[in-house]
Point group: C2
Chain length 230, copies 2
């Protein structure tokens, strides 16, 4: 069963049925347990199995490309227990986001959420916290400290977890908010900036890093910034 070996990375289970045919469980459709069973011939019979292989291949490819593979949003990453970050999620990311069991989204742009995204939130019981921060350019003008502070309070409240922080590209606004969280978690600046730059790459802004450096976390110190035990 060379084919099966070669393609086995996308096959969930293999077993022989009573007639000596291999049963390949690839999908989630047809048997009593909700699996699609595709029967391909084994090496014991004399039939030409090539057509069956093609059929399996087409099922598998369809299965993988349209159903099985998850597409995380741009710049997706885990920040801490119950906290994720990313760029703007579109409908191709919805199946992946469902696996996270999100309770909230912290959205950092002024533009209203698209109808498709609002529907996704509603049908999955996800609460939207929107903080309309303009995507400002250099030189440093106006990352509004108060908006970041209020957003940080939402992020720190474990009743909102699991939550996803996102803006448009997941670089600057999201990077600033996560950087302020890291500061509260007492990371040294070089590590805060290193993480910021990992996502912003060649779009990194000194003004954002200055904002994080100057951001005053002292009156947030009473809030929990460790999520290990939750």
């Amino acid at each position: 069963m060379k084919f099966v070996e070669k393609e086995s990375s996308i096959i969930k289970e293999e077993e022989d049925d009573e007639e000596g045919n291999m049963i390949v469980v690839v999908g989630d459709d047809d048997d009593d347990e909700g699996n699609m069973i595709v029967v391909v011939g084994d090496d014991d019979d004399d039939e030409d199995d090539s057509d069956q292989y093609k059929f399996v291949l087409s099922c598998i490819e369809k299965d993988v490309s349209e159903e099985d593979k998850f597409v995380p949003p741009l710049n997706f990453s885990m920040v801490d227990y119950g906290i994720y970050r990313s760029g703007f999620p579109d409908s191709s990311n919805f199946r992946f986001l469902q696996t996270l069991g999100l309770r909230s989204i912290v959205y950092l742009c002024p533009e209203p959420y698209s109808e498709t995204n609002v529907e996704f939130l509603n049908s999955n019981g996800i609460h939207l916290f929107q903080f309309g921060i303009d995507g400002c350019k250099e030189p440093f003008v106006n990352i509004p400290e108060e908006a970041i502070r209020e957003a940080l309070k939402v992020v720190l409240d474990i009743r909102n977890h699991p939550l996803l922080i996102h803006c448009k590209r997941g670089k600057h606004r999201t990077g600033c908010l996560v950087g302020c969280l890291r500061k509260l978690q007492r990371w040294c600046f070089s590590s805060v900036f290193d993480e910021y730059q990992r996502f912003a790459a060649h779009k990194a802004r000194v003004s954002d890093m200055r904002f994080m450096e100057m951001f005053d976390v002292s009156n947030l110190r009473h809030l929990p910034a460790s999520f290990n035990q939750t």
Copy 2:
């Protein structure tokens, strides 16, 4: 109290005592609750407070630079619940690593662990799983599939969590192992490669990405690759 406003990012609490002096709680040493209390003059008295300010500043700086700030290892990030990644941790990272409550480390280099690091493991009850993978260069020669597979089994076993995966720089060997985990979690290749490149940056290797693409996860499918509920 201009000074206090300017420096307040490293001050935990401010309050006035009965004599009208501001009490600044910065550290963790002297009062009944284990806080160091530094009394600086307020603006109502006529004394020159500059010496007191210097004293406060020196306390705060010492406190922050030597005791309060955490230094995560190079390229540190959270991968999933109970799974972290980084470059090689040194003694400056130990205090930070303690906050993670690690149970295991998956170390992907052939070089023996330094004595200092072994001591850290022993005194914190951390189990070391070492997989000696050479840091190979382009062109693609020998990322040993079997070593990555065995390492992945350790990573998937939640009895080993929380765990830290690391190599030397946290780019190539660690990136390949995390990429194989993402493949098992059914991330599409573009997202797997994007994450790999975020850490490897201009050192990204096509050969590593080819390795991840070719890596067969089919016989690991029975192992749990979702840690959300743990």
